[in-house]
Symmetry: C2
Subunit: 310 residues, 2 copies
């Protein structure tokens, strides 16, 4: 393969119950990256288009560049790669935008290899990219973007979690930029053991509900008593949007990734009314038409190659 274009979806990191550990992909916005073989070794970023973002072109300071550099270092394909990045996910939205650039770039670059790696084998390279953006090796965005659906992401593994087919995610993105580093700073104060037990219980309920296909357990568990209370003050209108979703019948709602996006899980049959309620609450806070909203399966899509030439 000489050239490949790949799409990686946005994702909902943390998913309320699994801070840095659980996330799911979202059918909606995404990043696209075009990779081309080049006679010049190494990685070069030749264009960054799409949303107006001030991203570094230095490949080792760019999540996509750093991820592909790691892939090349591990596979030594005998050629270099040029990347064109088209951003579709706003920066600082809590939708895994930096992760999606890394994943789309890896999936496109991998397609150029004579012996492409299995999708999950790209995970460590994606973490190398994520680290450039966030300073940490958190897989809760790159993991679900790579393999789709709801995924447990340890430092070494991606473990797919089955999702009841009727579960939908409604996501509201308000017109606010929240830097991940700022959203992490509020988490540094110490925690009590009781908070840990309550949040572990929530995680266990959601996982049990998924594996047992019992939506009721998921609804009982889908809450964040640990991180959400500390981050919510950074997100004007968060509680109003969350409450609107719960009042409309959502199973639970919380902050997507580091925020400011707000997500809710609900049954397919209630997705429209939950979406209407969240849109109305967002309009009250931010003005009509200023928020974006998506409805997606919780078992969202994986990144994919959407165009290629030999």
């Amino acid at each position: 393969m000489n050239h490949a274009l790949a799409f990686a979806p946005a994702s909902v990191g943390n998913a309320a119950v699994g801070f840095d550990l659980l996330g799911h992909s979202l059918a909606g916005p995404g990043d696209r990256v075009r990779a081309k073989r080049s006679a010049q070794p190494g990685v070069r970023i030749t264009a960054i288009t799409g949303l107006p973002l001030d991203l570094p072109r230095d490949p080792l300071r760019n999540t996509a560049g750093a991820a592909v550099a790691s892939l090349l270092a591990a596979t030594s394909p005998g050629f270099g790669i040029e990347l064109e990045i088209e951003k579709g996910i706003p920066l600082g939205s809590g939708l895994g935008g930096s992760a999606a650039s890394a994943v789309a770039a890896l999936v496109a670059a991998n397609a150029l290899l004579d012996a492409p790696l299995p999708r999950a084998a790209l995970y460590p390279f994606a973490l190398d990219g994520e680290q450039v953006a966030s300073g940490g090796r958190h897989g809760d965005n790159v993991g679900p973007q790579l393999i789709g659906g709801l995924v447990l992401t340890t430092p070494d593994r991606l473990i797919p979690v089955p999702v009841p087919a009727e579960l939908r995610c409604v996501l509201l993105h308000p017109p606010q930029v929240l830097e991940t580093r700022a959203a992490r700073a509020v988490l540094s104060a110490p925690y009590a053991l009781g908070e840990f037990v309550a949040q572990s219980t929530a995680l266990a309920l959601v996982l049990a509900g998924c594996w047992r296909n019992e939506v009721e357990l998921i609804g009982e568990g889908l809450r964040d008593v640990l991180v959400e209370p500390r981050r919510a003050p950074l997100i004007p209108g968060f509680f109003a949007v969350k409450q609107s979703a719960l009042d409309a019948g959502a199973l639970g709602a919380s902050i997507s990734g580091a925020g400011p996006s707000v997500f809710a899980w609900c049954l397919d049959s209630q997705a429209e009314q939950v979406a209407d309620a969240m849109r109305a609450a967002g309009a009250t806070q931010h003005g009509a038409g200023r928020c974006s909203l998506w409805i997606s399966p919780v078992a969202g899509p994986a990144a994919e190659v959407i165009e290629c030439t030999m």
Copy 2:
């Protein structure tokens, strides 16, 4: 039914990854409680035998008495109940001894009712009993004792967790009494978010491994970075016993309940060598023959009625 005798097994609370939330029953020691209908209303404890323990006879200060009092208050059977408690589980051993008295008493008393409740419906009454002993409503001992096996225990629910059939628990009980209250006192200092993430990851790995029937995931997850480091200094020889189990091939090892008992999970095929190693390490620390040791399925037994008359 006029009289019933019930047995409740010991249990391994916390199970390394689920503090106050996860536990499993143990084929080995247990408590026995005989319940008899009485014309006198309410609960009376007429005998406490077995291991020499100084337990209160006041039914509302005794875990068995308090649990059965709650059952009677909820069911109004029109008769009272006399209890004879035979302790088989040492107090302060980390084996759920107070829980087992409550569970055995409930299972025996329930059998006397004209319309006995389903086993899981006894859970809230068992928590009432547990609260008398520990001051908290922790279900990680009474839950598995009631329904058997490995169980997630929230304040409202018992959720059975499937266990790979080849998993065994080796448990060493050293000659030491560790009061639960003392073992809880060392946990009050604050925790860092990173400790929480690491321990959540461990919990998720064990649950995923159980539901996916993948022993490798369980082995990767079975660790306690949160509570064990704070409690281990209260248990002389803990690290030597734990390390002996790991060296002999155990998947993981940690403190049973509040300690001082130490448990290890391993494959059936390695249970004997793990047991030999833990026994030898215990003998080095405490002297030959001074520790007790059991090998049990992780999916241990439930409490049961073992004798009754009309």
